[in-house]
């Protein structure tokens, strides 16, 4: 069986996988990093979103072998070594943007990418459209949108342009 070498949250791993093994299976089952979740089998829910080389990716939609040489960041890799939360995590807590927590890892990873890719500011409507690929059954999204609005200035170190 083929091997794949990749970096996850700054640490290098080499693993033997099947050709059909998905990146999410490698993370959850081989590396035991269960923070990334699987909520569907049709690439619809976004519970599995991680960052691959800085971009948000549905890890159920990428083969493990495609991550050869890539740098992957998962929800487990967001907080600082001293436990300080990433501003997006902090705002999710502050604004009660999670209930059961199952969609949360993917939601937070998508939200960070969304804010990163909107350096000029982001509207609520853009956030709602940007979350198109992430399902949450608990919150009704209202507080998730609020949390992302609040995280934008913290992540960009300035007040939103609007």
């Amino acid at each position: 069986m083929p091997q794949v070498t990749l970096t996850v949250n700054g640490k290098q791993h080499t693993a033997t996988v099947e050709g059909r093994t998905l990146l999410v299976e490698l993370l959850r089952e081989t590396l035991g990093m269960t923070g990334t979740h699987v909520g569907c089998d049709t690439s619809q829910c976004g519970a599995c979103v991680v960052h691959v080389d800085g971009k948000s990716v549905k890890s159920c939609t990428m083969l493990a072998l495609q991550a050869e040489g890539a740098s992957v960041v998962t929800i487990e890799g967001l907080a600082a070594a001293d436990g300080t939360l990433h501003p997006m995590q902090e705002m999710f807590r502050e604004h009660h943007a999670l209930q059961c927590g199952f969609c949360t890892p993917g939601m937070v990873m998508s939200a960070i990418d969304l804010v990163n890719t909107h350096p000029q500011g982001i509207t609520e409507q853009e956030i709602r459209e940007g979350l198109e690929g992430n399902l949450c059954r608990c919150t009704g999204y209202h507080n998730i949108v609020k949390a992302i609005v609040a995280a934008w200035p913290l992540m960009h170190g300035k007040v939103a342009a609007e």
């Binding site: 979740h37 569907c40 807590r93 009660h96 199952f102 209202h142």
Partner: protein, 793 residues
């Protein structure tokens, strides 16, 4: 520490682990030596099983075992039990056909499990399941309730003639008939309540783990009520006594009712793990969830209101057909009866109500409680009918409601359909919601929208629900086979910190925070020193779990009762230590004091004395400070409120946008306003989903057409508006916290508000009713059909 007691929006304790990916959901758990199960399900709605050839699957790489229904039958494994028995009009019990764990003889719905393959890896199990050769002979199938009761329809079960599970009624028929005979006017509406698929984001999963040496079984499962699963599975299916069976429901990723029930897969992995002598994990793929998680709703009703010349409601007559699916799920029979028919009075003083309910078997997935359970069906029917009365009589929809409200001084109020409401103020929630929605400014907004070619509508729903379930004797007399009390164990540790063991279960509700706040409030212990433990039958004395918005009203009250016992015992210890009479000891904010003196002892002084009883009234009092209470509620609780939806339709496309949604709810005393608001927003989102987007669709032959997230429309962020939430509080009169429950109100109150708004927007097109979901195609077609009516005006 800031204020952390009742009323504080304390940030959630559980978020730390969830935000760092350190949740512990069932599929995250791996047991040493774990194997994997894959379940082969029927892809046919109704068929005879002619043969099952397991040889190729059994010989496949990594396969440890293959089991079919015959293997379970050989060991006299029971069917999946139903927890509620309804009686027919004539007093006979409902039809209750066996629900085999793995199909025997026939399959009865797409998704019905036929065989299980156990293998070393997930992928090997799945590959081997593909090698099973199952010979099925198709039988005619029925999916809809009307087809199922048509003469000559195929029988889903031989022991349920006419596919009728029960034929039940409630209310005074003679009184209702008399009122209709002399009514000024009768308004009738035919309504469907769409079938929904709950789709909690975490798919169901189960791990069976048999310990060969001790003979103990452990089941890890995605459940809202581990003790109930232990009881049902242990006593009725696998015949394992409680002392040998531990059920753990760890972090659970949403339930909404769908994780209440005892499912086949739980029994399969538990039983089979003793056969292969290894732990077995099964995790549903989403496709399996669609065809094996209990669905919700699916009613077909006729409703008629008799009114007098002024628009007073004289009597309500309802006839409902409801779909049970192919087998009875755990609570299914209760949903269209005692959680539905009893709610048909709504917030109105309608003096006479009569309802008939026929429950019908079909070749579809079992239907059971889904967020709101029966109450959304009742609310949709009543609130749509009230709007139809307004339309047919020309009475303003708000005036009509006010005219018929149960007045706020009429409590306790006995309805004609069994319930006695304890408190409420429907005028207050209505007024507050009208203000929040800027109802007065709507006409101007409608005109602005019209100038842009858009159709605006505003819809109101004034609703009520019954939750905090439930008094055991009452539900027992109605057919429940269990009690519905709740249990709390409060352990004050030697140094004064506290662990709460609760029989309720949190799968998003934030109990680890809210329940800890009760301890802060009553014992004066800071949040940082309170831990809430739930979801493990080995740790918690007992419990009935979380559903029916019962955790705080019933489980919270059990905690209050246990803390009362802690305080009572603490007073005796304090009296001894401070050499005073017990009657003179007062307790407040963590401190015991002797009335009229400056003598005090903290709770920590007392707990230390209780665990190190050197100077202690050991003759009269046991050491330790650890109390348990079982609390059986005296009544249901009755949250209510007003939801207002403002929608805008693009007549070119039929696309509806919900512009504003304002909910003002009376959920009793609010412990954590932030969490309550979140619960209501989430419920409203599911209600808007039901109203506009979601539908489980079967074709006439019983194939599930909406079997994936590509086909079943889940609400996404850009389908929903911001949801404004307010509260108006009247206290529950029969529990010490005054709480009513907030988990379901959002999903109960909102669907009719949305549909009423759409009907309002389309009034010029002659539209009188729209069945859910109001998809763009449906709306566009109504607009096309209504154009002549518009032109004629």
């Amino acid at each position: 520490m800031g204020f952390e007691g009742i009323g504080a929006s304390v940030r959630r304790k559980e978020d730390q682990r969830f935000l760092n990916g350190k949740g512990n959901y069932t599929d995250d758990i791996n047991r040493p030596g774990q194997t994997y199960a894959s379940i082969k399900r029927s892809d046919r709605p109704h068929a005879k099983i002619l043969s099952i050839d397991i040889s190729a699957a059994k010989a496949a790489p990594g396969v440890l075992a293959v089991f079919t229904g015959a293997d379970l039958d050989a060991e006299e494994i029971g069917g999946l039990p139903c927890g509620w028995q309804i009686h027919n009009k004539d007093g006979s019990p409902m039809a209750e056909p066996k629900h085999p764990v793995l199909a025997v003889g026939k399959v009865r719905h797409v998704g019905d499990p036929i065989a299980v393959v156990i293998a070393e890896t997930r992928q090997q199990a799945k590959d081997a399941a593909e090698l099973l050769v199952i010979d099925l002979e198709d039988l005619p199938a029925v999916a809809g309730v009307r087809d199922a009761i048509a003469p000559g329809a195929t029988a889903v079960h031989d022991d349920a003639p006419g596919n009728i599970c029960y034929d039940w009624h409630l209310g005074d028929k003679a009184m209702v008939d008399a009122a209709f005979a002399s009514a000024h006017k009768v308004v009738r509406l035919d309504l469907l309540n769409n079938r929904l698929i709950p789709n909690a984001m975490e798919p169901r999963a189960a791990i069976g783990d048999f310990d060969v040496n001790s003979g103990d079984y452990t089941l890890y499962t995605t459940s809202q009520n581990p003790h109930v699963i232990r009881l049902l599975m242990g006593a009725f299916v696998l015949h394992i006594p409680e002392n040998k069976l531990r059920v753990v429901a760890p972090d659970v990723g949403g339930g909404f009712g769908s994780k209440i029930y005892h499912y086949a897969e739980e029994a399969i992995v538990t039983w089979a793990s003793a056969k292969v002598r290894r732990p077995i994990k099964w995790t549903a793929e989403r496709t399996e969830s669609f065809m094996s998680d209990a669905h919700g709703r699916d009613h077909d009703s006729t409703a008629e209101m008799a009114i007098d010349a002024e628009g007073h409601f004289l009597a309500l007559r309802v006839n409902t057909l409801c779909n049970m699916g192919a087998y009875l799920s755990t609570f299914a029979p209760a949903v269209p009866t005692y959680l539905y028919a009893t709610l048909l009075a709504g917030v109105y003083k309608t003096p006479a109500i009569y309802v008939e309910v026929k429950a019908v078997f079909t070749n579809t997935v079992p239907v059971d409680a889904y967020r709101g359970a029966g109450r959304p069906e009742a609310t949709f029917l009543v609130e749509r009918l009230v709007d139809a009365v307004a339309k047919d009589t020309g009475i303003d929809k708000i005036e009509l409601r006010r005219k018929n409200f149960i007045p706020s001084d009429a409590f306790p109020y006995q309805t004609p359909v069994a319930l006695q409401y304890d408190s409420g103020d429907y005028t207050a929630t209505l007024n507050s919601a009208l203000k929040a929605a800027d109802y007065a400014g709507f006409e101007a907004r409608r005109q602005t929208a019209a100038a842009k070619g858009k159709l605006r509508g505003i819809g109101i729903s004034t609703y009520l629900e019954a939750c905090g379930i439930a008094p055991s004797a009452v539900v027992g007399s109605l057919g429940a086979r269990a009690g519905l009390y709740e249990v709390a164990n409060i352990r004050v540790h030697p140094t004064g910190s506290v662990t709460v063991f609760t029989g309720t279960h949190s799968h998003g509700q934030g109990h680890e925070t809210t329940l800890a706040q009760l301890v802060c409030e009553q014992l004066g212990v800071p949040m940082s020193q309170v831990e809430v433990v739930h979801g493990d039958t080995a740790k918690i004395p007992f419990g009935m779990g979380t559903y029916g918005s019962r955790s705080l009203a019933v489980g919270g009250t059990a905690m209050v009762k246990a803390m009362d016992k802690i305080i009572a015992k603490g007073k005796k210890i304090a009296a001894h230590l401070m050499e005073a009479a017990v009657e003179d000891i007062e307790f407040k904010d963590n401190v015991f004091s002797v009335a009229g003196t400056d003598k005090t002892k903290t709770l920590t002084d007392i707990s230390l004395a209780a665990y190190v009883p050197h100077n202690y009234p050991i003759e009269e009092l046991e050491p330790g400070l650890d109390e348990t209470a079982f609390y059986d509620p005296k009544n249901f609780t009755f949250p209510g409120g007003c939801h207002i939806a403002e929608v805008e339709i693009d007549p070119e496309t039929g696309v509806t946008t919900v512009i504003n949604f304002s909910a003002v709810d009376d959920v009793g005393r609010v412990v954590n306003p932030m969490i309550v608001e979140g619960q209501i927003q989430g419920g409203v989102a599911q209600g808007i989903g039901q109203a506009l987007l979601e539908a489980a669709i079967y074709d006439k032959e019983g194939q599930l057409l909406s079997g994936s997230m590509m086909d079943y429309t889940m609400p996404r962020a850009d389908n929903l508006p911001n949801i404004s939430v307010g509260t108006e509080t009247t206290l529950c009169t029969h529990n010490p916290l005054g709480v009513k429950g907030c988990g379901e109100v959002g999903a109960i109150g909102s669907p009719p508000a949305v549909i009423n708004a759409l009907v309002d927007a389309l009034k010029e097109y002659g539209v009188r009713h729209i069945n859910m979901p109001a998809t763009p195609q449906k709306i566009w077609s109504l607009i096309q059909a209504g154009k002549p009516a518009l032109a004629a005006e």
